[in-house]
Subunit: 292 residues, 4 copies
C-alpha cells in the first residue's frame, strides 16, 4: 500500500488552522476516502478539505495510484498520494476515524469489514448492498464495538422534503407527488417519490383521492397510484432531479419542493454523516437519524 502518513509540516502546508501547540490538528476528525478518483469521491475530497474540523488523511482508488490527491481532484498539490487497495493493517497506518466509501458494489462489503476490523467507522455511500450483507456489517460492528453508517440518500434537502411531507399529510391527507428528472432516467416513478408516498402512508390510511366517478380520457392521465397517492413522472432533457409534493385542502394548497442541481447536493449530508458517524458504536441506516 502506498500513500504517505501526514506530518505536521504537511498538514500546515495544506492550510488547516486549528493546530495544537505541537502542530497536530486539534480534535479534527480524520477521514480516509475510498474511491477517491470517482466523481463522488473527488467531490467529497474537494468539500471536506474546506471544513475546519475534518482532515483528509488518506485516499485510495484503483485508478491514479501514486498521483497527488490535489492533482486528481483539481486542487493545489496536497502532499498526499492516491493509495491502492488496503487491508486492516495498512488502513491502520492512516489513523483514520472515518472511512468514506464511494467505490463500487464489488468492493464495498470488503471495505466496510476491513474498516470495522481496523477500528475505523465506515460511512457508505456506495449502493448495491443487500439485506444479508447489511446484516453481516451490523453483526461485525456490534462484535467490534465500532460504528458503521449507510444511507440510500445523502441529500438533506430531499430528506427534509420527505419529513415535511409526512408531517403535512396528518393535516392534509389529499396529496399528489410530482417528480421531474432528466430524460435519461429509466425508471418511473423515482425511488424518492415512492419513498415519499410510503412515508405519507404511515400517517394516513389508504384512501381514494379524486372524484369517485372520475375517468381517464387517455390512460395514465392520473398517474401512478400508490395507496391512493397519485405520482406523476416528468422526463425532459435539461432537467436534473426535482420533486414537488402537493397537498390540497379546503381553499388552499401546500407545496414542498426540492431541486437537486448538482452532485454538490449530497455534500452537506455526507459531511454531517462523517461528523455524526465518528461517535457511533453500531450500524445506523439512514441520514434521517442524524437530523434533529
Amino acid at each position: 500500500m502506498k500513500g504517505k502518513a501526514l506530518t505536521p509540516d504537511c498538514i500546515q502546508q495544506r492550510g488547516f488552522a486549528l493546530l495544537s501547540q505541537e502542530g497536530f490538528p486539534l480534535k479534527k476528525i480524520r477521514v480516509f476516502v475510498a474511491g477517491a478518483s470517482g466523481k463522488m469521491g473527488q467531490e467529497v475530497i474537494r468539500t471536506l478539505v474546506k471544513e475546519d474540523d475534518l482532515i483528509l488523511v488518506g485516499a485510495s482508488d484503483t485508478r491514479q495510484q501514486g498521483m497527488d490527491v490535489g492533482f486528481v481532484v483539481g486542487l493545489p498539490r496536497m502532499g498526499l498520494d492516491i493509495s491502492g487497495p488496503f487491508d486492516v493493517e495498512s488502513l491502520r497506518t492512516f489513523q483514520a476515524d472515518v472511512l468514506v466509501d464511494f467505490t463500487n458494489p464489488q468492493s464495498v462489503l470488503k471495505n466496510a469489514k476491513t474498516a470495522i476490523l481496523a477500528g475505523v467507522v465506515p460511512v457508505i455511500g456506495t449502493t448495491g448492498l443487500d439485506e444479508a450483507e447489511l446484516e453481516e456489517i451490523r453483526t461485525l460492528a456490534v462484535k467490534e464495538s465500532v460504528g458503521a453508517f449507510i444511507a440510500p440518500n445523502f441529500s438533506i434537502g430531499a430528506l427534509l422534503m420527505m419529513r415535511f411531507a409526512r408531517e403535512a399529510a396528518k393535516y392534509f391527507p389529499h396529496v399528489d407527488i410530482l417528480e421531474l428528472h432528466h430524460d435519461q432516467k429509466l425508471d418511473a416513478p423515482s425511488g424518492t417519490a415512492i419513498k415519499t408516498a410510503e412515508l405519507i402512508s404511515e400517517v394516513r390510511p389508504p384512501m381514494v383521492q379524486g372524484h369517485p366517478n372520475e375517468y381517464e380520457k387517455i390512460p395514465g392521465a392520473r398517474g401512478a397510484d400508490l395507496g391512493g397517492i397519485h405520482i406523476h413522472s416528468v422526463r425532459l432533457p435539461g432537467l436534473i432531479a426535482h420533486q414537488e409534493v402537493l397537498f390540497g385542502g379546503l381553499g388552499q394548497a401546500l407545496t414542498i419542493r426540492h431541486d437537486a442541481y448538482t452532485r454538490e447536493t449530497y455534500m452537506p449530508g455526507i459531511m454531517l454523516a462523517i461528523r455524526k458517524a465518528a461517535d457511533l458504536t453500531e450500524l445506523v441506516v439512514g441520514l434521517e437519524n442524524f437530523l434533529d
Copy 2:
C-alpha cells in the same frame, strides 16, 4: 316580453359618463345578456357596467323575471328589469348591438338564430352546440350579413398560454403538460391540456420522449401520451384550474403556467369578444381570432 327600454334619464342615473349632448350614450356598444340570473350571466353584468364603452340595455332569464337587474346581481338598483323569453320582434326593441348568451344547451341555438334575425350579433359562451348547429348559425349569419361569435374558452390567459406553448415547441420539442384541478372534476386530462397538446403537435412531429428503454414501475407514472406529449392530471381539493406547460432543452427549462382562480378569469375575454364581435359580419369561432 317584459323589461323597459332605457331612457336617457335612466342611463344617467346608472352613472354612465360618456353621453352625447342629448343625453344618449356616445358610440357605446349596446349589450343584451341572456341567462342574466345564472352565475356567468351575473358576472358578465357586474363586469360590463364598469366599462365606459359598453352599456347594458337588456337582460333576460327564465328565473327572477321582473326583478331589477341590480338586485339580481348584487349591485344598486339599475332601473332595468329581468325580462323573459324573447323573439325577433321583442329583442329588436332593445336596440342591442350584441347579445351575450350564457343560457343552456336547450336555448342557445334558438337564441342565436333569433339574435341574428333581429340584427344583433350573438356572443355565445354556452356550450353544447354540435357541428351541424354551428353550421346552421354560420349559414344564417352569412345570409343575414350579421356577425356571430362563439368560443370554447374565454380565458385570455389560457389562450396566451396555449399560443406561447405552440411557439416554444418550435425550439423546444420536448414538452410535458401538467394540469391541476379541484377534485370534483370528472375527466382527465382537461380539455385545455388536450387542446394544448394538439396545438403543439401542429408544429412538431410526433416523437418518442424520454429514454427509449424507460419503464414504469407503477403503471401510469409517465402520464397520458398524446402524440408523444405526456400529460399529467393532478386532482386535489382546494385547487381551482391550473396548467403548466414544461419545456426542457439542453441545460434549461422553460415553463408557461396559467392559474384561474375565479369566474372573473373569463370576463376580460368576454368584454374583448363583445367589442370585436360588434363589427363582425360572419361567424367567428375562437377568441384567439381577436388576439393580435
Copy 3:
C-alpha cells in the same frame, strides 16, 4: 335575546347522525357563533354543520336578527334564528361548550368575558385585542377555570409552512421569502412573511446573505431585509394570498409554498380550534399549540 333552544326533533331534522337513544346528540361539541351574519361567521356555520361531532346551538349578530340561520348562510331552513346581543344569563340558555367570535374589535373583549363568565370557552378570530386586553382575558379564564383561545392565523397550511421553514433553516441558513398578494393589500411585507422571518431568526443567527460586494442597480431590488433575510412582496390583481420560502444550499434548493385561495382556508383550523378549545381551562394563544 331571541333564538329558540334546540329540541331533539329539530336536531334530527337538521340531519345530525350521532344521537343517543333519547334523541340527544352524543358528546357533540355545542357551538355558538357570534358574528353569524358576517362573511367569516357564515363560512364557519356552513362548515361546522357538516361536521359529525359539532353542533350549532346558537348564532348571534346585530344584523338579520330573527331570520333563520339557514337562510342567512345560504343553506336549507335550520329552525334556529339569528339572535341579538347576549349577556351571561341569556348565553347560558344555549348550553354551548364553545363560542366562536368573528364580530368586531368593539365587541370582542366584552363577548369573550361574557362567554367565560357563562362557562363557555371563547374561540376568538376577531382581531384588534391589545396586550392589556389579552391579559384581562387570561386572568379571568384562570379565575373562572374556563378555557379561552385566540389565534392571529387560523390557516393550518400557513402554520405548517412556517413550522417547516423554521426547521429547514437549521440546515439551510440561506433563505429568501417571497409573498404574493392581490393589489389591494396596503402593507408590505405581509404579517405572515414577517412572522416567518422571525421564526427562522430563532434558529439561525443574523447573517449577511448574498455576496458581500453585491449592489443594487435599482434600489429595492434585493427586497426588505429582516435580520439578513430578504423578503420580496409581489402585488398583482387576481392573486389572493401566497407565500414561498426559498432555501438555497450547495447544489440544491428547498421551497415551501402556501396558497390561500378562499376564505375556506381558515375553516379546518377553526374546526380544530373548536375541538381542542373545548377542553381548555386557561387562555391559549396560537393555533400552533394544537398541531402535533
Copy 4:
C-alpha cells in the same frame, strides 16, 4: 500559426457522416472556434462535433497551443491541434465559413475584423464591445460584404421568455418580475430582468401598480421599480440563473419562467447563430432576429 488542415481521411476518422463521394463533407458549415480552451469554447466544440451539418476546421487559443482539441475538451483524439493567434492570411488556410469567438474583451474586436477581412463570418459571444466598436464592425462588414453576428444573450429559452412577456403585457399590463441567481452574482436586478422590463415597457405605458396607498413596513419590500414594474432579486447559494415573469389579471395569473441550469443552455442558440450567420452579408445584433 500552428494547426493542421483537415484531410478527408482525418475527417472520416472523426466520424462525420455526410461525405461526398470524394470523402469531403457535403455542404457542411465549416467552423473555427477562437477561445477554444475556455469554458464556453470547449462547450461549443463538444456541441458542434455532434451536429451533422457543422464541422470543426480550426480551434485557437493562447493556452494549450499544439495540444489535440479532443484532449482539451475531454473527447477522443481529433487529429486537430489548438492553434495560436491568427491573422487574415493564416485564418484563410482553414477555409472556415464561420468564426465563433469566445475569447476576451481585449481580443474580440481584432478577431472580428480579421475574420471579416478573411471572408469569414464572426459569431461573437464575447462581451465588452462598445457602440463605437460595434459601428466599426458594422462598417467593415458592409465594405467587405461579409456578415457578422453578435448577441448579448444566446439562450433561446430566455429570449422566448422575454418575447412571450412582451406579448402577454398587451393583455395583462400588471406584471412583477422575479429573478433568482446564485449568491456570487454582484449586481441586482440582473441584466435579463431589466431587459425584460424594458421590452414590456414598449407595449404598455408607465403605470403605478399596486394600491395607491400601499406602504413598505420594511424598505425594499416592493422591490426595484422600473417604469412601474417591480423587480425582485433573490440571491441564494445553489441556485444558477432563473427568472419568472408574473402577470396578474381579473381572477387569474399567467407566469413565464426560465431556468438555466448549465452552460449548455447557450449551445442551441449558438448553433442556430452559426447556421443563420453563415448566410449573412451584414452585421446583425441579437439572436431574436433568427427566431421565427
